[in-house]
């Protein structure tokens, strides 16, 4: 723990004990507790490190006139202090513990009514209860009854905390009992551990009496569960809900025999609750049953018969909405139970079967079908039920074939049929019955169902054997895209589904020319849509399609989907170039990204440069210079990153022509991007610079790609790494090109940027560069000698902006060096002797001063800078020391009202 903090803490405690109302803000106490939590987790004993806390607790607990938030804080703090047995003992011996958790004490003071005291009491106990002594304390003090009462507290937070606490108590008792009775279930260890750290502690001190006490606690809690589970009237549903939540927690974490015991106690009540059929309790009930069921599943026990029976009951419940919820909840768990999985699948497919009229289910109980149909006739519930079913279809198709009542292909057909119904295009095949007609008209025009169905369709692309549906899916999605009433999200999802299906079913031989024509037409139309969101999705689609590899016919070679279905660049590039003029910046940005994706193939193949590409580059450079929105400018830099990286990763096919366009462009991008106002543009620009560094020094010894600080400071670095075995002339050449491309200027300007991410990245890259060209490890003299040639490489430092900052830094460094009798400080900047005015004059006179790159890299104290930049910008503000100081300052401000006045005035 920080010494300074320790020294401040007693004064802070005094302040808090005296009056809590002078806190700087509401969150101070929470922040203090967070700090204590961190300390406790790190293994620090609070009482040892901060003995003042004991006095604080005993003072506060007697002063019931204090602000309840301070009292609540104290309750919780006591829990942290008493988390170790030693400290617990100290607190108990000093009688503080009894008083802190004495209910009567708080009730008599009239404070128990305040929910923050109640929650403080629960959380304090909960934190403390990590060792058997604390558990005995809990049992002996008979805290169980009040805790059970708190479970139905009017404050939801209190009730929930009480629930958690009860579960914790029961699990603690279980662990203690099992240790005491030497009845540790090997398989259950993991479960016990997940319940709390208590299982890791030693319980050698457990006696037969305490064991009996614990058994009594377990019985009391179980009795309470049993008694309160079934509501006597509708108004008590809240209580049942709480009990069910607790039960779900317990059944998931307990092991036999406690698990058995709990189940036995509550089984009848759960039965009763099921028969009563409260719809609000269906999901919590299902959670309980599934928790019990999963517990068997996880522990590889055979499912308990009672649980299986309850589950079967749930999956045969009469109310259709409840039934669907239960089936969906079961499927979500992904349990290995073929019978119930198959049953859930049948339940979830029933609404689709009814509405589409496709025979997804060979047999269904007539009554169930009738009830479901009646439910589906109501528009609201129809839409929500269908959406639940659709959401689960992809998971269903991945199930074992014997669980599914129909092949996945039929489910895809059903989803397609539903989408047709939504657009009002077709009647359901079973529309002969008026019931079905009534149901199917509920989904006409429902964009919610459409969106769900499209999501399902996208996910269904991965189901086995559905590739045969590609042409049908294609047709329907194009219809969706063409439909004037489709909302922007539906269109976006349709585009996504189309890309997904094409990427999964890479064989596009079933796609006819008519399909292609229809898609071309619709893409052309949507790229001119009145809604920018649609134009954006269209442009994105074009880009994503270019990245999908497909095979058109078995005989043909693979190509990208854009070429296969849209005819490639000749169709997409003009559309994307038109989108560069869009009024909406998001569309422009997407168009730029899509252009990069579309041209990626030609870059990789090293295709000759076209006039169009040259025009695109000019357009993009214009966007970078003139576009008012950051999104588009960021996309431009990313475009060049993509281009450059594709060129470097396919260096074998680099075309000189494209390089002749790329490198001058990159130079412009670096100079424009590093002068941008948007920090993300600047970060991307640095990424581009990094790529150039990578390319320039790839294979050079001493060059580590990426983050140079990742190596541990004490790691042993092989000598060879620092031995300059490569040709110095090469390095000079490379460094010269880096200077010429503007990489060095971009990095230096980034270093002094006011945005931390920019400066951090630039700093890391400069360190990387330094380590290659002039590592600090060589020492100044060695370096001068060894790098006589490299040191001759210079870069310009113009007299404005970032360069002025760099110069200042260099001058400062030189002065420091001179003061210390340093070696070469005065030579770093050959114009620094003339001072500030001289620099100005040099610039004005047209002679931009030049500096040696090596010397700059070695003089900028990059490592110190990196250290500062790595810390988060609010690290000072958020430190515990700052918190403690704030509390003290606020208190002194309060004691001197005049000062406070000033502070307030300052704020304004």
């Amino acid at each position: 723990m920080d010494r300074e903090c320790v020294s401040l803490l007693p004064r802070v405690c005094e302040v808090l004990a005296a009056s809590g109302s002078s806190l700087p803000d509401d969150t101070s106490l929470e922040k203090l507790l967070d700090w204590f939590t961190g300390l406790t987790k790190a293994g620090t004993s609070l009482l040892e490190s901060c003995p003042c806390l004991l006095e604080f607790i005993s003072t506060v607990v007697h002063n019931t006139a204090l602000d309840p938030s301070i009292l609540s804080f104290t309750l919780r703090l006591t829990g942290f202090v008493a988390v170790t047995e030693v400290a617990f003992k100290v607190l108990q011996e000093s009688s503080v513990l009894d008083l802190v958790f004495n209910l009567q004490h708080w009730q008599e003071a009239g404070l128990w009514e305040d929910p923050c005291i109640r929650i403080g009491w629960i959380q304090g106990l909960r934190t403390m209860m990590q060792h058997p002594k604390a558990l005995s304390f809990f049992v002996q003090a008979d805290f169980l009854q009040p805790l059970l009462q708190l479970q139905t507290d009017k404050s939801l937070f209190v009730a929930s905390a009480a629930n958690q606490m009860l579960a914790h108590v029961l699990l603690s008792c279980q662990s203690v009992s099992s240790v005491g009775s030497n009845d540790v279930d090997e398989e259950g260890e993991d479960v016990g551990r997940s319940g709390g750290s208590i299982a890791d502690l030693e319980y050698s001190a457990v006696t037969v009496e305490t064991n009996q006490d614990y058994a009594a606690v377990v019985t009391a809690i179980s009795e309470c569960l049993k008694k309160s589970l079934v509501p006597r009237e509708n108004t008590q549903l809240h209580q049942s809900l709480q009990i069910l939540k607790l039960l779900a927690l317990l059944l998931a974490q307990t092991r036999p025999p406690l698990w058995e015991k709990l189940l036995q106690m509550v089984a009848d009540s759960v039965d009763e609750l099921l028969v009563a059929g409260y719809s609000q309790l269906i999901l919590p009930l299902m959670d309980v049953i599934l928790a019990a069921y999963s517990s068997c599943d996880v522990n590889r026990r055979a499912p308990d018969q009672r649980v299986s029976r309850l589950l079967s009951f749930m999956l045969n419940i009469r109310k259709p909405a409840d039934l669907i919820q239960a089936a969906a909840a079961f499927l979500r768990r992904g349990l290995h139970d073929l019978v119930h999985t198959a049953q859930s699948a049948r339940v979830l497919l029933l609404p689709l079967d009814i509405i589409t009229g496709l025979n997804l289910l060979t047999t269904t109980a007539d009554e169930q079908r009738f009830l479901m149909m009646e439910q589906l006739k109501n528009k609201t519930s129809c839409i929500s039920l269908i959406c639940v079913c659709l959401t689960n279809t992809p998971q269903m198709t991945l199930m074992a074939a014997d669980c599914l009542p129909c092949p996945p292909v039929l489910i895809v057909t059903a989803v397609l049929s539903l989408l047709k119904l939504c657009s009002g295009d077709s009647s359901s095949p079973s529309s002969s019955s008026s019931g079905c007609r009534e149901v199917s008209r509920n989904v006409i025009g429902s964009s919610k169902v459409q969106k769900c169905a499209l999501d399902a369709l996208t996910a269904l692309s991965g189901s086995p054997g559905v590739e045969v549906k590609l042409a049908e899916v294609f047709t329907l999605l194009v219809q969706c895209l063409d439909n004037p009433d489709s909302d922007p999200t539906v269109l976006q999802k349709s585009f996504q589904a189309l890309v997904q299906w094409m990427s999964v079913c890479s064989d596009l031989s079933s796609i006819t020319d008519q399909h292609r024509q229809d898609l071309l037409q619709v893409v052309r139309k949507r790229s001119c849509d009145i809604r920018w969101e649609v134009r954006d999705s269209t442009v994105e689609f074009l880009g994503r399609l270019a990245g999908v590899r497909v095979i058109q016919t078995t005989a043909e070679e693979a190509s990208d989907a854009s070429v296969a279905v849209l005819g490639g660049c000749c169709f997409t590039t003009p559309l994307l170039r038109a989108a560069l003029q869009d009024t909406e910046s998001y569309v422009r940005a997407s168009a730029i990204s899509a252009l990069a994706q579309t041209l990626a193939a030609s870059w990789q193949q090293g295709a000759a440069l076209t006039q169009e590409q040259t025009e695109i580059v000019n357009q993009l450079l214009e966007v970078l210079s003139w576009d008012t929105e950051g999104f588009a400018r960021r996309a431009v830099v990313r475009y060049f990153i993509a281009w450059l990286s594709s060129m470097s990763s396919h260096s074998c096919v680099q075309s000189p022509a494209s390089s002749s366009l790329l490198m001058p462009s990159v130079r412009s991008v670096l100079s424009r991007g590093s002068a941008d106002l948007d920090w993300e543009v600047k970060v991307h620009t640095l990424e581009l610079a990094e790529l150039l560094l990578d390319e320039a020094f790839s294979g050079q010894r001493g060059y580590t790609k990426g983050n140079p600080t990742q190596t541990h400071p004490y790691a042993v670095i092989p000598n060879t790494l620092h031995t300059r075995t490569h040709n110095e002339e090469d390095v000079v050449g490379v460094l010269n090109s880096l200077v010429q491309w503007g990489v060095v200027s971009a990095l230096l300007s980034g270093l002094v940027d006011c945005d931390r991410p920019v400066a951090l990245r630039a700093c890391r890259l400069l360190i990387t560069l330094r380590e290659v060209v002039c590592p600090l490890s060589l020492g100044a003299l060695d370096a001068t000698a060894a790098m006589a040639t490299v040191a001759r490489v210079t870069c310009e430092l113009p007299g404005c902006g970032w360069a002025r900052e760099i110069r200042k830094m260099l001058v400062m460094k030189a002065k420091d060096a001179n003061a210390e009798g340093g070696v070469s400080g005065g030579e770093v900047v050959n114009c620094d002797d003339c001072g500030e005015a001289g620099q100005e004059a040099a610039s004005v006179g047209g002679q931009t001063p030049c500096v040696s790159v090596c010397e700059v890299l070695r003089s900028l104290d990059l490592d110190e800078r990196l250290d500062v930049l790595t810390r988060s910008s609010d690290h000072v503000h958020n430190s515990p020391l700052s918190l403690l100081q704030d509390i003290l300052t606020a208190s002194s401000a309060r004691s001197q009202p005049d000062t406070q006045q000033e502070v307030i005035a300052d704020c304004y």
Partner: protein
């Protein structure tokens, strides 16, 4: 109460309501779909149309070469286009007291009804309805008159011959009632009978009923009508819209508590959502222009065009169409664009507030100012010298049978770069294009109909809860082409009463009460006696005085003494000091200085004697 249905077209209604002692015509729609059977009227000589072969029946027995022409596999009448008028035989049109107009599209048959039928009543309409209606009539007259056709084809209408003709001519109904377009003189005469009304203004008709227009939200000045007496209320809902477009929003609450609601003018495109269509319109337009083609938009000169221009105003920049010229060609283009800017009080709230800034309510003013939108009365004159391509042309008539649009069809039809975008829902686009086939230009159908759809109308009816709904029979069943769409029909309890052309419906409610006033002096003389707490009754003997459908109870003759004489009786009206001597051979009324009383008594006695 009866309803006579004179039109079978649900959105161009013409019904007559007999209510109390009044005869009220509700709208006067003209079904212009009949013009689709005629050949287009080209503005400049068209070699293609002039060389069309005449029609002779296959067996050669019927030769109508002069009247019918074979064009692109279909037979068209080569004559001045004719319109299908509302039914004129169902009742005597001269008995109509008033005509209530709901919007400018539903008054196009007015000259056929008010002229040459003996009509002497009044037409009620709002000011924008009158002014824009006049423009639309003027435009049609102009379209017809500037390309006169001497020939008038009538032989084909002969029943025996018509039976032998190919479809769709064979199936055309009531062809004998079809009439050529009216003249401007008839238009002016008809419109002179219009009396202007404002929303919620109450107009008394002969003291019997009160009529009042309500905003219907469909077009400038469009209205629904409330027709009510003291105890009965009939609502007439025609062409209403709940969408936020340029007109004042629809007044729904005033339609509540109606005994009968007559519902007409629902959307003709229930499956085409106007917003989607507008989007479709814009993207197709941009797509064509980008590809270097021209866009032709056949439309009416008022109505949706204002919304189209407003939408394009916003879209032009984002679609980089800033340099593309937009032309609006109509003999009334200028008036239409200017009228729209001056009817501020009839516009939606947003547009009304603009007027106070002051700014023109519609942005097409700016489009005109910046030369992006140019308007011309016809293709002749300035237009021909300033015309630049690629461009967008808005022009009429949407039927493609007359107006400047015919010229553009001939001009642009052969290039697949060009696109025709149909936005008006009144005509089947396939039928409209039939005489221009084969056509290379692209065709896009995005009908924009902002009128109520079935979903909206169901909600509206749930809200206003009329006792009975009367509607065209088309609304009581799903559209023929989409028989599975049971959501595209009215499902009400009790079921709506359907009507078709020539139906006469007895509206299902009986008048039970009539309001009668008591003069204060008579009321003073009444002696009420309480029969139960809060309810008192009194007997009244008085005279009912009825004038202008207002009934008043007033003091009458109360004391009569009857004397028997040898030859008869003498009645002595004491208060009036009058004697009525009734004898076998003569009757005398002796009444000094009260000639009116004497005459009244004489008439009464005569009537009695006649009855005896």
């Amino acid at each position: 109460m009866k309803l006579y249905c004179l039109s079978g077209h649900p959105t161009l209604p013409c019904n007559v309501l007999k209510f109390k002692s009044t005869t009220i015509m509700l709208d006067c729609g003209l079904d212009t779909t009949s013009v689709l059977n005629f050949l287009p009227l080209p503005l400049v000589h068209s070699p293609r149309l002039s060389k069309l072969p005449g029609w002779i029946s296959k067996d050669g027995t019927i030769n109508l070469e002069k009247e019918l022409k074979d064009c692109a596999g279909r037979v068209f009448v080569d004559s001045q286009p004719e319109f299908c008028l509302p039914e004129r035989e169902l009742l005597d049109l001269s008995t109509i007291d008033v005509i209530l107009i709901s919007n400018y599209h539903c008054m196009m048959a007015l000259p056929y009804i008010t002229e040459h039928t003996g009509f002497t009543g009044t037409v009620y309409a709002t000011e924008p309805t009158l002014q824009i209606g006049r423009l639309l009539m003027e435009e049609v007259v102009n379209f017809m008159e500037r390309v006169p056709k001497a020939q008038s084809a009538t032989c084909w209408k002969n029943k025996e011959i018509q039976r032998m003709l190919p479809g769709p001519l064979k199936d055309a109904v009531d062809v004998w009632t079809w009439k050529r377009c009216y003249s401007m003189q008839e238009v002016n005469s008809a419109l002179s009978k219009v009396q202007l009304v404002g929303y919620s203004q109450k107009v008394e008709l002969f003291g019997a009923v009160q009529v009042s227009p309500l905003s219907s939200g469909y077009s400038l000045g469009s209205s629904n009508w409330i027709i009510q007496s003291h105890h009965e209320k009939v609502s007439y809902v025609s062409g209403s819209s709940l969408l936020t477009t340029h007109p004042q929003p629809m007044d729904q609450s005033s339609l509540k508590n109606s005994d009968v609601l007559i519902l007409t003018g629902l959307t003709q495109m229930p499956t085409a959502n106007p917003d989607g269509m507008l989007g479709e319109f814009c993207s197709n337009l941009a797509m064509t222009i980008r590809a270097g083609g021209n866009v032709l938009v056949p439309c009416y000169s008022s109505g949706v065009i204002y919304d189209l221009l407003e939408c394009l105003y916003q879209f032009i920049e984002s679609a980089s169409l800033g340099t593309t010229p937009f032309y609006f060609i109509s003999p009334v283009a200028n008036s239409s664009l200017e009228f729209s800017q001056i009817f501020a009080e009839w516009l939606c709230h947003n547009k009304q507030t603009k007027v106070y800034l002051p700014e023109p309510p519609f942005p097409h003013a700016e489009l005109i100012q910046t030369n992006k939108l140019k308007h011309y009365p016809s293709i002749h004159g300035d237009f021909s010298s300033e015309f630049r391509q690629p461009c967008v042309v808005f022009t009429g008539h949407p039927s493609l049978r007359f107006g400047d649009v015919v010229h553009f069809m001939e001009l642009w039809g052969k290039s697949s770069l060009n696109t025709i975008i149909f936005t008006e829902p009144d005509f089947s686009y396939l039928d409209a294009l039939a005489p221009y086939q084969p056509l290379a230009m692209k065709c896009v159908y995005c009908p924009i109909d902002t009128r109520l759809n079935f979903h909206q109308v169901s909600k509206l009816l749930k809200e206003v809860q009329p006792l009975h709904v009367v509607c065209p029979e088309q609304y009581t069943q799903p559209p023929l082409t989409q028989s599975h769409r049971s959501d595209l029909m009215l499902e009400l309890q009790p079921p709506p009463m359907p009507y078709r052309r020539c139906s006469v419906l007895n509206l299902p409610f009986r008048r039970r009460y009539e309001r009668v006033y008591i003069l204060p002096e008579l009321a003073n003389s009444l002696v009420p006696s309480e029969i139960k707490p809060g309810v008192s009754v009194a007997t009244v003997s008085a005279v009912v005085h009825s004038k202008d459908n207002k009934h008043t109870l007033q003091h009458g003759i109360t004391e009569v003494k009857v004397e028997e004489t040898a030859d008869g009786h003498i009645l002595h009206l004491q208060a009036e000091d009058t004697l009525i001597q009734l004898e076998e051979d003569g009757t005398h009324i002796v009444c000094d200085n009260n000639e009116p009383l004497r005459t009244t008594l004489r008439d009464l006695v005569l009537r009695f004697l006649q009855k005896l």
